[in-house]
Amino acid sequence: MQKTVIQWGLWVLLLWPQHLAGSTPLDCRDDQGNLSRCTSISQEKLLDRVIHHAELIYRVSEELSSLFEELFIPFPFRLQSNQAAYSCITKALPIPSSKSEVQQISDKWLLHSVLMLIQSWTEPLVYLQMTMERYDHAPDMLLNKTKWVSEKLSSLEQGVVVLIKKMLDEDTLATGYSEQGVVQNEVQPEVLESVLRDYTQLSCFKKDAHKMETFLKLLKCRQTDKYNCA
């Protein structure tokens, strides 16, 4: 009996710091809703975490896309590994698309590009989640992954906002660009068209997730080694 009490005590002690650490909100919002400066985490660490986040999102979106393709897309319509449909919602965004372009833009623009991407995907992902549930044979894993990606994206957004605040000392509000590209359709699922459309959405999102990851990594390099980076 004593042993178990001691064990429990030890466990509580061990887990206490984690509990404390986990409770700090990332965006350091105080009660009035004003963003205050976060002093609890360094910029470098924050950037690392953000990058890690973006990496995860990309990996899961890749899995999500291939799973969806496997389940719902007949062979003739499957995109080659290098293809994406043309109607990506974010194609109109002023985002650098080559390394040379990236080299030319500033940190600020880099960060804002990332934010733009994130914000333009927030709503479509929610919508995608809804449509997924209407599929007849959607397995739980598909729904779970979609939900996960959606959640992680919003937390990534928070992180980038804080980062912008820290690095650029700007106050930015979320959901600046969210109206773009949101397509609300009442078309019933399972019709090939809507299925293909969802498929396209997932592929586009996958690509954009990779963009976010790359930009953030480039940003990190710039922080540490300004002259040798892209």
Binding site: E55, Y58, R59, E62, L79, Q80, S81, N82, Q83, A84, Y86, K91, S97, S98, K99, S100, V102, K207, D208, H210, K211, E213, T214, L216, K217, L218, K220, C221, D225, N228, C229, A230
Partner: protein
């Protein structure tokens, strides 16, 4: 000559013209196929195509592309850098995350051919170059070497800035083997490899892959030789061998030290006959008078010298065929019980008695042991095999009394393999009920071994499923010996008592020759078990089983018989001479328990019924039952007088 030259030229032209005009192979070109594009670093890319037939005419190829979202068509900027049938896109024209729609057109004078368009996104076609500067070092770590592999990313891939993220994989194999072992290294650029073969030569290769593309080719092999070292497995074997040798030495030493006890355990010595007071050598060498004087009780022969009264009765133990098997089986079981037994020697034991667990010398020790063994295991095992019918008999014999009585040796059909050495079958003495005029009082007494009633003392051949059958057994014990202790005129110093003693521990039965009350006294002191004769075989002898003393008191009071027979003499060769005691009052008085002789009612009906082969015995039993002595279901009726 000029003319000739001109003619030749004309001829050539004609030939050419004809050849051309023949029209063979003149056709539009075939479609270019298999357009594939690769980017080594996500900053440039190259596309290759496979040309179709050229239609016999010189054909040119052109690559056109369109970027997504735009209808503007561009042509490949560089056909040369990447070789034949290729198009190289430089950094300026390469856009990532952008779809390209590429088409290759083959043109010759006859026509054009368009390939199928292909959509690519540079991000997904990245196949980096192999990692560079693969360095493999053998590092010594306290005699256990390991490989330290390190490499650098391909030069063109910009991993430093984060533009491209590469994952690495290492593989290695022994030089002369074919199987590669692959190890994933993540994004690290070093790797340690352990568990190497001593003295082997390894080949190591590395490759890389972006998080969204193709694996590169394997880097060229790096060879490294692992130095010889003492692998742990071999040293472990040496340790094991040394340890085993050590243990073996200790074991041998222990065996050597305890050689005798081990030998005794493994090869129990054959017991020799033992009669108290009789020395074998003495017998061999001594004079007959001396010998017999010790055997003879001085007052024994009554002056009436009615020697007929002192007929020596031999117990003949007969065991049927099937019993033999049983006892053989029991032998093994009893052997196992030896482990728990300590051999103890008693003072009056003659030579060989200490060693022997049994009295029987012939017919295998097992038989004797069968009779004597009080091993419960044995008995239980026997129980399985023996039928109820063949249940026990015990006989105990041989209270040695001076009065020889004719004992009816039952010529039971059952024969027990017992101690032929101890008992000499005397055919002339056959137990027959008819010949038993003895009243109950003078009836036979059975000295039973004590162990009859103890769990440990069950003879193996007895069916002893449980205590329930035990009541069939009687334990009588050597009352005589006890009696003698007190006093008896009839047992002078030279009285010879022979009784079978079984020591519980040893499960041995000793035939002790009691010379005197003193001896008796000694005997009494000694915690010994008595043997019950279980069966008497006509041929062979008597089967004894030990009776535990502890049980005696409780049981013998009720189950004792009046009559004893005692072992008169031990024949070296064959037999034990059992004397039946006369119903002598003094004797009776000697044996205080005589009065308590149990009525035959104690003989279990089962026993009576089970005496299958004992035709003669049964009547005896009945009679004895009436008279109150026989315990055993069998056999020999000791002759009663």
């Amino acid at each position: 000559t000029m003319k000739k030259v001109g003619e030749v030229v004309l001829l050539w032209l004609l030939i050419l013209f004809i050849h051309n005009a023949a029209g063979e192979g003149y056709s539009p070109p075939g479609k270019p196929t298999n357009i594939s594009c690769r980017s080594p670093e996500k900053e440039t890319f190259t596309c290759w195509w496979k040309p179709g037939s050229d239609g016999g005419l010189p054909t040119t190829y052109a690559l056109y592309y369109r970027k997504e979202g735009s209808q503007r068509v561009f042509e490949c900027p560089d056909y040369k850098t990447a070789g034949k049938n290729s198009c190289f896109f430089s950094k300026n024209v390469t856009f990532v995350w952008v779809n390209y729609n590429i088409t290759v057109v083959a043109t010759n004078s006859r026509g054009r051919a368009f390939s199928d368009p292909v959509d690519i996104d540079v991000v997904y076609i990245v196949k980096p170059n192999p990692p560079e500067e693969v360095v493999v070092n053998v590092t010594e770590d306290k005699d256990w070497p390991f490989l330290q592999v390190s490499w650098k990313p391909p030069k063109m891939a910009d991993t430093r800035s984060g533009w491209i993220t590469l994952f690495y994989e290492v593989r290695l194999k022994l030089e002369n083997k074919n199987k590669w072992e692959e190890v994933s290294a993540g994004q690290r650029k070093t790797l340690q490899i352990y568990s190497l073969r001593s003295g082997g030569t390894y080949e190591v290769q590395v490759r890389c892959k972006p998080d969204h593309g193709f694996w590169s080719e394997w880097s060229p092999s790096s060879r490294v030789k692992v130095p010889e070292y003492f692998p742990q497995e071999r040293s472990m074997w040496i340790l094991i061998v040394v340890f085993a040798a050590f243990i073996l030495v200790i074991f041998i030493w222990m065996v050597y030290m305890n050689f005798h006890s081990v030998k005794r355990y493994l090869l129990p010595p054959v017991p020799g006959p033992k009669i108290k007071g009789i020395d074998k050598q003495f017998l061999k060498s001594g004079k007959s008078e001396d010998i017999f004087s010790s055997l003879v009780v001085s007052d024994f022969p009554p002056t009436t010298s009615n020697y007929e009264d002192f007929l020596v009765q031999y117990l003949e133990v007969y065991v049927p065929e099937e019993r033999e098997l049983i006892m053989d089986e029991g032998k093994d079981l009893q052997d196992d019980s030896f482990k728990t037994e300590n051999s103890t020697c008693d003072n009056d034991s003659g030579r060989g008695s200490c060693d022997s667990h049994t009295l029987l010398t012939d017919k295998g020790g097992g038989d004797k042991e069968d009779g004597q063994q009080s091993d419960q295991e044995g008995s239980q095992a026997e129980a399985d095999t023996k039928s109820q019918e063949e249940a026990l008999e015990e006989e105990l014999l041989a209270c040695s009394h001076e009065n020889l009585q004719s004992s009816n040796v039952s010529n039971e059909k059952e024969k027990v393999k017992s101690w032929p050495s101890l008992f000499s079958p005397l055919p002339q003495y056959s137990l027959s009920p008819v010949n038993r005029p003895n009243p109950p009082k003078t009836g036979q007494q059975h000295c039973l071994s004590d162990s009859l009633f103890t769990p440990n003392s069950m003879p193996s051949y007895f069916t002893q499923p449980g205590p329930s059958t035990r009541k069939g057994f009687r334990s009588n014990y050597w009352e005589c010996s006890f009696d003698h202790k007190q006093s008896h005129p009839l047992h002078p110093q030279s009285a010879a008592h022979e009784h079978l003693q079984a020591q519980n521990d040893l499960n041995t039965a000793h035939v002790d020759y009691m010379g005197a009350p003193l001896d008796v006294h000694v005997l009494n002191v000694r915690p010994s078990e008595y043997v019950e004769v279980q069966r008497v075989s006509v041929e062979d002898g008597v089967l004894l089983h030990p009776v535990s003393p502890s049980q005696e008191d409780s049981r013998t009071l009720s189950h004792q018989t009046e009559d004893y027979s005692r072992v008169r003499v031990v024949n070296n060769d064959n037999g034990l001479l059992l004397l039946q005691r006369d119903a002598i009052e003094e004797e009776k008085s000697m044996c205080p328990y005589q009065e308590d002789v149990v009525s035959r009612a104690s003989i279990t009906p089962t026993l009576q019924n089970s005496a299958t082969g004992i035709n003669i015995a049964l009547p005896i039993l009945d009679e004895m039952a009436a008279s109150g002595y026989i315990d055993t279901a069998t056999m020999f009726g000791l002759p009663t007088h």
